[in-house]
Each structure stands twice: as structure tokens, then as C-alpha cells.
């Protein structure tokens, strides 16, 4: 921990917020009328699920660029338990919250208790 704050860092952080605005609203900025070509509109249907999978799969299966290479990894059992809960409760209001809780209920004891 470090308690010295420097103005240049604060300015950089403020500019990073500007980058968030710019990237998230990139195609909203110009109000000229234009439309994506039909093939791009068709392709974008698959973008949400693909983006989510691309963000989450490495988080679940990799550590610092390496695939999980040991059965003593709490994430394997936590993901299995979360998926089992989801399959069981699919369509009910508690599917998502239940998946988090069922996964963490397996993850925390293995990770903290056994160091997996």
C-alpha cells in the first residue's frame, strides 16, 4: 500500500474514464444517418453470447495464461456445482443467484480450507 498520490496519475485516471465513454458510445457519437449492412446485422445477433463466453471461459479455466492442469483446483468443482444448480433450476427465478451461491458454497471451502 502506498499513500503518495500524484496529480499526473489522477489526470491519467480521468482520461481513462474518457476512454470508457468513447469506446462504449463510439457509434452513437455521429448522428449522420447510416445503417449497418445486412450481413453485419445478422452476424451481431451472435455477438452478445460470444462476448460473454470469451470473457468468462478464460476466467473459469485458466490461471495466468495456463489452462487448469490439476484436479486440485476448486474452480472445477465450483463450476460443476453451479452448472448442476442451473440445469436443475432452469427457468425459475432463482437460477442465476442459485448458480452463484451453489458455486461459491463449493469454491470457498476447497479454496480457503484446502488451498485448492
Amino acid at each position: 500500500m502506498n499513500d503518495s498520490t500524484d496529480a499526473w496519475t489522477l489526470l491519467t485516471i480521468a482520461c481513462m474514464a474518457g476512454i470508457t465513454v468513447l469506446t462504449r458510445s463510439f457509434f452513437y457519437i455521429s448522428s449522420k444517418p447510416w445503417q449497418l449492412p445486412g450481413w453485419a446485422q445478422r452476424g451481431l445477433q451472435y455477438a452478445p453470447i460470444a462476448a460473454l463466453a470469451a470473457v468468462v471461459v478464460p476466467e473459469l479455466l485458466m490461471t495466468q495464461g495456463q489452462l487448469i492442469d490439476s484436479w486440485q483446483d476448486a474452480r472445477i468443482y465450483a463450476v460443476a456445482s453451479g452448472l448442476a444448480w442451473f440445469a436443475w433450476r432452469r427457468g425459475s427465478g432463482h437460477a442465476v443467484l442459485g448458480t452463484i451461491l451453489a458455486g461459491m458454497a463449493v469454491y470457498l471451502p476447497l479454496h480457503i480450507g484446502l488451498g485448492w
Binding site: M1, A14, V21, R24, I49, A50
Partner: protein, 243 residues
């Protein structure tokens, strides 16, 4: 232009908020651990607080911290943040027709608050644009409610993480609740064979291309999955809605 109070009272504001609610504990735990990680890596409390409050992009925050501490030039840090956020540029292309009826300021504000989960949930509920004012208002209200819950869960717990950085040990791994929340949303989206294929293709590509710098593996994985699904969408097996 819709007044904030009108948005707040619109029934779809609540629907948007409630859709995000089940995932909120996961987002909150992830935000908490991002706050802890920023301080434990060596950012000062004020810097970490400012970052949690205004940057609102976990990936960019975690990528920027080591560069800030190493004294990298500002343009390198900003270019890194922009690359890590490139997927949002794709999202903005997709959502553009839903928002263009709004004035510029409202479009930009909506964009700022639209992170991954809000984009996914919005498109799931509204696959098509509308030219009717009532439907456009409903969409805007839904988006606002969804963004508000997402933003509040992430930012409030990031701030808490900064404050409690010396109390919450990173080794507990509480942040794993975040990926679990996204996993559940992913399962709820995977409603056809083609969508499962998109999950597998994107997941595999993201893992194989993990060594790419600046999280460009995410962008590459989106491109691979989208192209593959477009190539296969007219095959008869892909049209079956249940696997």
C-alpha cells in the same frame, strides 16, 4: 426527451432492474475484489477511489494499474484501456439503432453505463428496434433500470474494496462469484444449438488466443464465433431450437 422522473416511474425501469438483480451479488463480489486488488498492487487510496468511481470498466482498471505504477507514458495507458474495451465498440454498433432517436448527451451517457451484462440483457429482451414512441420509452426505461443496478453493485462494492483492502484477503477468492454470475447468464442465453456453438467457439478461441496482448483474444473470439455461426446458420441441424 424523457425526464428522469418519467423513466424512473416507467414499469420497464423496474423490469430492467429486476433482471439484473440475481446477478448483482456476483458483480458486487467482483467489484469488491477489483477494489482490493488495485490497492494491494500499490495504487494510493485516493487514486483507487477515483478509478473505482469514474472508470467503470474492470478489465481496463486491472490492465492499467501495473502500467501506472511502472510510470508508463499516458498514451500507452490510454491505448491499453481502449484496446481492452474494444468489444464495447462492437456493442455500440449493435445498439446504435436503438438509441439514435435520443439527443447526443443522452446517447453518450447511456453508452457510458452500458457494460457487458446490460448489453446482453437488453438485446435478449429487445431483439428488434422500434419506431413507436411508447416502445422506445420502454426500452430506455429498461436500459436505465438495468444500468443503475449494475453500476451501483459494481461501484459501491469497489469503493468498499478500496476501503477494506487490508482486511479482505485476496486469497479467499471472493471475486470468483463474478465469473459464476456471468456463467449463469451465459447458460440462460444458450437456447439453441447454434448459440451453444457460439459459446464453444468463442470460449475455445479466447483460451487458445489468450497469449495475445491487451485482451485482444476477446475480440478475436467474438469474430470467430460470429463468422462460424453465420456460415452455419442455414444448416438444418442448427435451426432446431432445442439440442
Amino acid at each position: 426527451m424523457m425526464q428522469i422522473r418519467q423513466l424512473w416511474r416507467h414499469p420497464d425501469f423496474r423490469v430492467g432492474a429486476m433482471d439484473l438483480m440475481p446477478a448483482a451479488p456476483g458483480i458486487a463480489a467482483w467489484g469488491l475484489m477489483t477494489g482490493v486488488a488495485m490497492v494491494q498492487s500499490g495504487l494510493s487510496s485516493i487514486e483507487a477511489l477515483l478509478m473505482s468511481l469514474i472508470v467503470f470498466s474492470g478489465g481496463a482498471q486491472l490492465a492499467a494499474v501495473p502500467l501506472l505504477l511502472a510510470g508508463a507514458p499516458m498514451w500507452v495507458i490510454l491505448a491499453t484501456a481502449a484496446c481492452v474495451n474494444l468489444r464495447f465498440v462492437v456493442f455500440s454498433a449493435h445498439l446504435r439503432p436503438f438509441l439514435m432517436h435520443l439527443p447526443l448527451l443522452e446517447r453518450v451517457v447511456s453508452g457510458y453505463f452500458t457494460a457487458d451484462l446490460t448489453y446482453v440483457m437488453f438485446i435478449k429482451r429487445y431483439p428488434n428496434t422500434s419506431t413507436e414512441a411508447a416502445q422506445q420509452q420502454a426500452q430506455q426505461a429498461y436500459l436505465s433500470g438495468n444500468c443503475l443496478v449494475n453500476w451501483f453493485s459494481w461501484v459501491s462494492f469497489s469503493l468498499l474494496g478500496v476501503a477494506l483492502a487490508n482486511v479482505v484477503p485476496a486469497r479467499w477468492g471472493l471475486g470468483f462469484a463474478g465469473p459464476l454470475a456471468l456463467l449463469a447468464i451465459l447458460c440462460s442465453l444458450a437456447s439453441s444449438r447454434l448459440r451453444w456453438l457460439a459459446v464453444c467457439a468463442a470460449g475455445l478461441a479466447a483460451v487458445l488466443a489468450y497469449a495475445l496482448p491487451l485482451k485482444l483474444n476477446i475480440l478475436l473470439a467474438i469474430a470467430v464465433a460470429v463468422l462460424l455461426c453465420m456460415a452455419l446458420e442455414n444448416k438444418s441441424w442448427a435451426k432446431a431450437s432445442k439440442p
